[in-house]
């Protein structure tokens, strides 16, 4: 009881509720035109259910008490039933309201907003269909019990049910709308106000004309009613339904409407009136619910589409889509910002658009590869992945990693190509720098070890040389003395010979150190060796933008060779060739050709560089044309080829450049 007391509603609300209830009773009474035919529409049921739906269950006793007061007051004013009968009928009404509110609250999520079709249908069925059964049963039984209005139970029940039901259909929505929008937070735009006003006028005119008998058919009100339901949803439906009920009441009471007639047909007319109101209400409410649901779905869709678009547009990567034929469809904002224009705006006819876009943004050197690879993907449906340079808005070419994949429909047919481009300039640059550092380091360590080596050689040779020079001076003095000392001169000369031999021995020891070993030679398919060398140099070639063209005669016989050494020769010659083309414009093509010539395999490596100034000196040790070279590479190459029993020399390329040629003998008797 304490809890119930603490849930007491505000007296003002309770007062308003009572007042509205009494008014509803009055409205019902005024529509019961012909005495003895009972109540045609019972608005308090709608008010009651709507109130209880929104109120907390603990406050229900208060509302029930208020309703009781109001109905008994109405009874005193209009119905004049005996008090016990009136009280019993009120119990039926209260039961109806509580059952309806309880069922609706059970079915719908709280707070009840009636936003989906399911909720509206449930509320209609439960509130307007099932709940009135309670009041109809109790009320009809009371009427029959007290013998009032000469009604039997069976005759009174349907009228009672449909009256309450119509009351719920018309008033409950209005009440819900009024309660929920009490504070008026929803603002209508000016255009909507105009529409609402026009609609209101049309509605009033049609209603007045149709219900006052000028138009033959009351249901002609349906179009404006549904219009209100579609455009203004629940609020529109509730307000227009109330207006419709009021207008109908006015014209029925004044006798102008189709629903007013002589006493014999009155009962049937009344049923028609109730049906008219019920059908109108049902239609409007369902349409309002559908409209509401549709509107919400559209909003949700728009919202999700917007967030998806925002996601795509703000991802820190360049996103694009093309049609299955490669025609550009979409480029994300990031993409457009990167290239500095909107590729979709690149207007040209049909298929050439893709070509135009690619031409505008891909580095000319990469264009061919991109073209080929993308065409291949389009033709086969295979995913596309490539690193290439792409022009930025400021004209700078940046390294870009592109990946694209086909989007397919349920049948597996390609619907669209989606791709991303990622700016990897910094990584590529870092890698290049790392590689450069490694090369520099390698070069430095090579130079350092050479310096060490030469210092040690110098020391080894210098000691005997110093002894030789000193001994020679001594010898000279013994011979040129006033009395030449031949014996000692002889001794010093012997020492000179001894020391010179020891210096020569040092030299030959060093040569032995660098001598090639012959043990590791195997008969090897020569094409494989070239292919491996090509692989080794592929990346460097790409970096120097040199195209390596390999042609190897098929059926080359195996050659007995030291694979590592010959690869060293090939790598050296290929690198020389690429370096020779560093500073030339135009095509940088390096050709590697291998073919059989007699009993040898002849390999040519040609470049289009400046050529060689002194071809006879270039194989000498420490002769170099490079700024940082040591001049050892070609000397070592020649010694390797020599040790294989082959020859290495240079020729002039046509029209310019240099060709290095080496031969390796085919050893038919080599053991495999």
């Amino acid at each position: 009881v304490k809890r119930v007391w603490s849930h007491r509603p505000q007296f003002s609300h309770l007062g308003l509720f009572v007042a509205a209830y009494v008014l509803g009773c009055g409205f019902a009474q005024s529509l019961a035109i012909v005495p003895g035919t009972g109540i045609s529409v019972w608005p308090p049921s709608g008010l009651f259910i709507a109130t209880l739906v929104l109120a907390s269950p603990l406050s229900w006793p208060w509302w029930v008490l208020g309703g009781c007061l109001a109905e008994l007051f109405g009874n005193v004013l209009w119905f004049h039933s005996p008090l016990p009968a009136a009280f019993l009928m009120y119990i039926g009404n209260a039961l109806e309201a509580m059952v309806g509110a309880w069922l609706v609250n059970q079915t719908c999520r709280r707070p009840v907003r009636l936003e989906t079709l399911r909720e509206v249908l449930a509320s209609l069925v439960l509130g307007a269909g099932i709940a009135p059964i309670a009041s109809a049963t109790v009320g009809s039984a009371t009427l029959a019990w007290f013998g009032m209005q000469s009604q039997t139970f069976a005759a009174a029940w349907p009228l009672w049910w449909i009256g309450d039901s119509t009351g719920v259909l018309i008033v409950a929505p209005l009440a819900l709308v009024v309660f929920q929008n009490w504070h008026g937070e929803t603002e209508l735009s000016a255009a909507r106000w105009v529409e609402a006003s026009v609609l209101g006028l049309i509605f009033l005119a049609v209603a007045a004309l149709s219900l006052s008998g000028y138009l033959p058919f009351a249901y002609i009100i349906m179009p404006p009613l549904l219009w209100a339901a579609v455009r203004f949803e629940f609020r529109g439906a509730a307000v227009t339904l109330t207006l419709l009920a009021l207008i109908t009441a006015v014209f029925t009471i004044s006798g102008a409407s189709q629903f007013a007639g002589d006493p014999e047909s009155q009962k049937q007319k009344q049923v028609m009136l109730q049906l008219f109101l019920a059908i109108s209400a049902l239609s409007a409410l369902i349409v309002a619910a559908i409209s509401r649901q549709h509107h919400r779905a559209v909003l949700t869709l728009r919202q999700s589409e917007r967030s998806l678009r925002e996601l795509v547009e703000t991802l820190p990567t360049l996103i694009w889509c093309t049609a299955p034929d490669g025609k550009p469809i979409y480029f994300s904002q990031q993409f457009r910002d990167f290239v500095g224009f909107n590729p979709e705006g690149k207007d040209a006819a049909g298929a050439s658009r893709l070509v135009d876009v690619l031409k505008a943004i891909i580095h000319p050197d990469d264009l061919d590869t991109v073209d080929k690879l993308f065409a291949h993907s389009l033709a086969t449906g295979e995913p596309y992945a490539l690193k290439h340079r792409q022009r930025r808005f400021d004209g700078q070419y940046r390294w870009i990693q592109t990946r694209a994949a086909a989007m397919r429909n349920g049948d597996g047919a390609i619907v669209q190509w989606n791709g991303v481009c990622l700016d990897i300039e910094d990584q590529v640059r870092a890698q290049d720098e790392l590689r450069l550092a490694q090369e520099t380091h390698l070069h430095a360590s090579r130079a350092a070890s050479l310096a060490e080596l030469s210092a040690s050689i110098a020391h080894e040779v210098n000691q005997p040389l110093a002894a030789i020079v000193t001994n020679s001076h001594a010898c000279q003095r013994w011979l040129t003395a006033d009395t030449p000392n031949i014996e000692r001169a002889q001794k010093t000369v012997e020492r000179v010979i001894r020391d010179a031999n020891s210096a020569a021995e040092v030299i030959s020891r060093i040569r032995a150190l660098f001598k090639q070993s012959v043990e590791t030679r195997n008969a090897t398919p020569f094409g494989n060796v070239i292919a491996e060398a090509h692989d080794l140099m592929a990346e460097e070639a790409a970096r120097r933008r040199v195209h390596i063209d390999v042609c190897i005669e098929s059926n080359l016989p195996p050659v007995a060779l030291d694979r590592v050494q010959i690869q060293q020769v090939l790598v050296n010659l290929v690198r020389n060739g690429m370096e020779a083309m560093d500073n030339i414009g135009g095509d940088r093509v390096l050709r590697i050709c291998a073919r059989q010539m007699g009993d040898a395999v002849r390999t040519e490596i040609s470049d289009h560089g400046r050529g060689i100034e002194s071809p006879d000196r270039i194989f000498e040790p420490f002769v170099t044309t490079k700024q940082h070279g040591m001049g050892m590479g070609l000397a070592i190459c020649r010694s390797i080829i020599d040790s294989h029993g082959g020859r290495l020399w240079t020729e002039k390329s046509n029209p310019h450049g240099a060709t290095f040629v080496f031969t390796l003998p085919i050893e038919t008797e080599v053991a495999l």
């Binding site: 210098n462 000691q463 000193t470 001994n471 001594a474 000392n485 020391d499």
Partner: protein, 213 residues
């Protein structure tokens, strides 16, 4: 200059170089003693005659430049460096620390001989100075304690009277001591005595003017 009156020390780890140097210097009528390492040189008994040290920079035990630093304090002969690969910093360091020359192998006869001759001349000079100083020291040691007290006062320029007052003896006694000092130190004049005192590093403790005040 004869073979007996000076000697050349050779320190080089390479036997061929030691041999060749010995031969060349022999042809110049010079006596040589060769060592294979710095340690051998330091520990050997060496004749006390004018000498020169021909030192290789690269030695098996310690670097020739380090040896130069180690023996700087003692009485060692001037050094002529020889090296297989001389770099500028080493040569600068060697010369700064008093080396006569820094020769890169192979070197010419003329360069080596002029360096060695210069070194020996330098050593002869040092030796004669050192010998003179030894004689002076001996004479100084022969003085009586009283005479050793008189010497600084005299070379400081004090009058006999002042010096006598300083020592608390009569002027006549002081004059006797002074005559003995001059005689024992073999000084022909007061100027000679002053020069000897300077070489012996006898401090000038008084001045005539300071004594007056």
């Amino acid at each position: 200059m004869t073979a007996g009156d000076h000697v050349i020390f050779i320190v080089d780890d390479d036997e061929r170089v030691r041999e060749a140097l010995g031969e060349l210097l022999a042809s110049h009528d010079m006596r040589t003693i060769a060592f294979a390492s710095a340690g051998d040189y330091v520990s050997a008994d060496k004749p006390d005659v004018p000498a020169c040290l021909v030192l290789d920079v690269e030695l098996p035990d310690i670097n020739g430049l380090d040896l130069q630093k180690q023996i700087r304090e003692g009485n060692h002969p001037p050094i002529v460096f020889i090296t297989g690969h001389g770099d500028i910093p080493s040569s600068v360091q060697a010369i700064k620390h008093g080396a006569v020359d820094f020769l890169t192998k192979p070197f010419s006869d003329a360069d080596l001989m002029s360096a060695i001759r210069a070194a020996i001349a330098q050593d002869r000079e040092i030796r004669s100075e050192r010998a003179e100083l030894g004689v002076l020291r001996q004479r100084y040691l022969d003085l009586t304690p009283r005479e050793r007290e008189v010497l600084p006062l005299v070379v400081s320029g004090l009058l006999n009277k002042q010096a006598a007052a300083e020592l608390g003896i009569s002027e006549v006694t002081l004059q006797i001591h002074r005559r003995n000092v001059m005689q024992k130190m073999a000084a022909a004049s007061l100027a000679d005595l002053v020069r000897f005192a300077e070489k012996l590093q006898i401090p000038v403790t008084h001045s005539r003017r300071a004594g007056n005040t």
